[in-house]
């Protein structure tokens, strides 16, 4: 066991640090406005292009596609170092993490030629159009219909929870093409132009007040058959490629140093029994949060070690999101309880630590749901890691149109 870099890793880290030092944009106010702001979006695109030209975007992808032609451990080290400097927001994560890899795996040669390099360069942004009002955890319940019309397909339906749809150029769309087939067999995947007529994006007003996600409506959207990704009826198989990439890219982070903020808060707060810093109940919770955050950190190190050794990482990283989301919610609630009556205040000028805990409390429910709910993630761990059998299902080997829907 050694936390230190190998000589090869250390050399790469030094090179990355020097490059970041010379090239990372200095933080400016407009970066905080969110990607809806055109100045922020321009800064994000400029940073992506700079990384791509230096071989630091999509480090593990072949150079022929615009990637860096490097190793997984290099990608991890670059990510660690990049997270230490302030860089613009990242609107490319879903495209480069999920959609474009799907095109690279299942798409036609012409599509790869057309889409991969512009995505790596940050010129084109992608979103993932899978979830629907009737299919959240159950993605294969998608109802958005694509009907063949000569050389075209005509698409009608609605997607939901689409991150970044409002600034995306292209989308990867999962559709239902045959309702007489069982649910997993009658689906087909397409890429679509998000600016085409028949695509309407409406922001979702989240309980936190922000709008990071959208509803996307399709009304007689016409796409060419050449926009199909994979065979007709293979949509579910293709979507699994995307979702596998999602599990690799979502997760981790969240609440890492949160215990330190609670300790800082406690030092300024009195309980009926004296300083909150000395409160035994709180101290036990701080220890529990710390142990979980440390456990996740070192679990990531174990994964990185496997990558460094050229091995396939084990399933251990699948625990990250379910742990960090729960810690975040518990920590926020506990900290607000400490603040007592004051805890209800959300004005960052008045609330302790600029209302950090109030913000966490309102963000945590989203983190527990996005990218796989707590419950779905536990199912995945039980079924894929521990080998438990699938639950009894009422939707297998039944024509999609005959599956009970409850409404």
């Amino acid at each position: 066991m050694d936390f230190n870099d190998t000589p090869e890793e250390a050399a790469y880290r030094t090179e990355v640090r020097a490059w970041l030092e010379a090239n990372a944009p200095k933080r400016s106010g407009e970066n905080d406005l969110g990607l809806e702001d055109p100045v922020s979006m321009d800064a994000a695109k400029a940073w992506q292009r700079k990384k791509a030209e230096a071989g630091y975007a999509c480090i593990t992808w072949p150079k022929a596609w615009g990637g860096g032609g490097g190793k997984s451990w290099q990608s991890v080290i670059f990510g660690q170092e990049e997270s230490k400097v302030s860089t613009p927001g990242n609107p490319f994560a879903i495209g480069l993490g999920m959609c474009v890899p799907t095109v690279m795996t299942a798409g036609k040669e012409a599509d790869k030629e057309r889409f991969v390099r512009p995505a790596v360069l940050g010129d084109e942004i992608w979103c993932q159009l899978f979830s629907e009002p009737a299919g959240g955890s159950d993605v294969a319940a998608a109802r958005t219909r694509a009907v063949r019309d000569g050389d075209d397909w005509v698409i009608n339906g609605q997607k939901v929870w689409t991150s970044g749809a409002h600034f995306s150029d292209f989308g990867l769309l999962l559709t239902r093409t045959d309702v007489d087939q069982p649910k997993h067999k009658g689906m087909t995947m397409f890429w679509i132009d998000m600016h085409a007529p028949g695509v309407e994006v409406r922001p979702i007003h989240q309980m936190s007040g922000a709008s990071n996600f959208n509803e996307v409506y399709f009304t007689d959207l016409r796409v060419k058959d050449s926009q199909r990704v994979g065979a007709v009826g293979d949509g579910w198989k293709v979507s699994l490629v995307t979702l596998m990439n999602e599990r690799l890219s979502v997760g981790g982070g969240g609440g890492g140093s949160g215990h330190g903020r609670v300790m800082k808060l406690a030092s300024d707060i009195a309980t009926l029994a004296g300083s909150a810093s000395k409160d035994a109940g709180l101290r036990e919770k701080i220890a529990d949060w710390f142990v979980q955050a440390e456990g996740l950190k070192y679990t990531t190190y174990r994964t990185m070690t496997a990558l460094s050794r050229g091995q396939t990482p084990g399933p251990e990283n699948s625990i990250a999101k379910v742990v960090s989301a729960g810690v975040m919610q518990d920590m926020a609630h506990t900290a607000m309880d400490l603040e007592d009556q004051y805890g209800i205040i959300t004005d960052p000028k008045l609330a302790p630590l600029n209302a950090a805990f109030q913000t966490m409390l309102m963000g945590a429910p989203g983190l527990r749901i996005a990218g796989g709910t707590d419950e779905i993630l536990r199912n995945i761990i039980a079924e894929r890691v521990l080998g438990m059998p699938q639950d009894v299902r009422l939707d297998k080997n039944v024509a999609f149109k005959d599956i009970p829907t409850g409404r």
Binding site: V291, M304, A382, M388
Partner: protein
């Protein structure tokens, strides 16, 4: 970054598992459980000594293998997995570590080779009353090199030849080495929750005692020994917790209720997923603890406490939910669930309970924040 056992260490671990599967199946554990006259399995102890495991982290100059603490941790995980009914932790994680930490050259030369050879069984005698390790636990007195007082409970105190005892001399707390086969020592076997591990009350009436480490440093030294033992015990706990999860998994696949395997119900799936999550968090924390122990890093107090807290939680949770998964059968004497349930408690308390360790962890974090 190299945050895993090396290939050599994995090989050692694999060999240890095979050895224990052949020499310490559950009938060996039950042999000690069912026989009140035995506090450990002497045959297994001898066989383990022949493997050289007691000396894994003891330098070659003192008769050990001189491998290191990562190797010892790998062995510990396998011993925990096998619920090995031997006084390994008391002898190796406590006595040998205390000697290597604070022993004089003469003390090391006298005892370490015998420990490495499996000729000496040790114990760590601090507790006198319910509650955490504080000065109040040091009512025993040393005067003119003679110890008087009583220690209870002392894990492996009934089999041990040499004890490390927390006591006061001239009003100052120190650690003392006491030969238990010598004069002035009475042992009384104590019934505990985990009869696969021996526990005694040791009463001293003028027993010859030799100071270990500096006078007045007893509590600080005891804490340092506990930090080292906590990391190694965490590996035993992770080993036990992983095996409990494996038991729960295979039972969930073979047991049918309402026409299907109980493992297909989400109530069981989520329970097993939660065990897996806690086990992985404990393993990762334990790896960091092992690194801190092996390198003598300044992070050891934080790393040891985090290892201990995570491991206590993981083994307790895995043991109780494994039993629950087995339903009524899990509550019977014949099914092995209770062996893990017992051992989880034994390991969770032997180096101090999780509550005390959480307090120790937050104190260490406060010191780190202040620095």
């Amino acid at each position: 970054m190299d945050f895993d056992f090396t290939d050599d260490q994995k090989f050692l671990k694999g060999e240890a598992r095979r050895f224990l599967e052949s020499r310490c199946d559950v009938s060996v554990v039950r042999g000690v459980l069912n026989d009140p006259a035995r506090s450990y399995d002497a045959g297994l102890w001898k066989a383990v000594a022949e493997q050289g495991w007691m000396g894994a982290a003891i330098p070659e100059a003192h008769g050990g293998l001189g491998l290191g603490h990562i190797e010892l941790a790998a062995i510990a995980e396998e011993l925990g997995r096998a619920l090995a009914p031997i006084p390994f932790s008391s002898t190796v994680y406590f006595l040998a570590e205390a000697l290597m930490l604070a022993g004089s050259d003469a003390q090391k030369a006298k005892w370490l080779p015998k420990i490495a050879a499996g000729e000496v069984i040790g114990c760590f005698a601090t507790s006198e009353r319910p509650g955490a390790l504080t000065e109040a636990q040091a009512q025993a007195r040393v005067e003119n090199g003679k110890l008087t007082g009583a220690k209870i409970p002392v894990t492996d105190g009934d089999a041990a030849n040499l004890a490390v005892v927390l006591a006061k001399e001239g009003g100052r707390v120190g650690l003392f080495l006491v030969e238990l086969d010598g004069p002035g020592v009475t042992r009384e076997t104590i019934q505990t929750l985990d009869p696969t591990r021996g526990v005694a009350k040791l009463t001293f009436e003028g027993a010859p005692a030799e100071r270990l480490g500096e006078a007045g440093e007893g509590l600080a030294l005891a804490e340092q020994v506990l930090n080292r033992a906590a990391v190694l015990l965490a590996f035993e706990q992770v080993g036990g917790a992983d095996r409990a999860l494996e038991m729960a998994k295979s039972y969930a696949l073979e047991r049918y209720a309402f026409g299907r395997p109980i493992g297909s119900y989400q109530a069981i799936k989520h329970k097993l997923a939660d065990i897996y999550i806690k086990n992985e968090l404990a393993r990762s924390n334990a790896y960091f603890g092992a690194w801190a122990l092996e390198t003598g890093a300044a992070e050891l107090p934080v790393a040891a406490a985090a290892s201990r807290v995570a491991a206590c939680e993981a083994f307790w949770f895995a043991a109780k939910e494994n039993l629950q998964t087995h339903g009524g059968m899990g509550y019977t004497w014949e099914v092995d669930c209770h062996l893990f349930y017992r051992r989880a408690q034994q390991l969770g308390l032997v180096a101090g309970g999780a509550k005390a360790w959480k307090e120790r962890l937050v104190c260490a974090l406060e010191q780190r924040n202040a620095a």
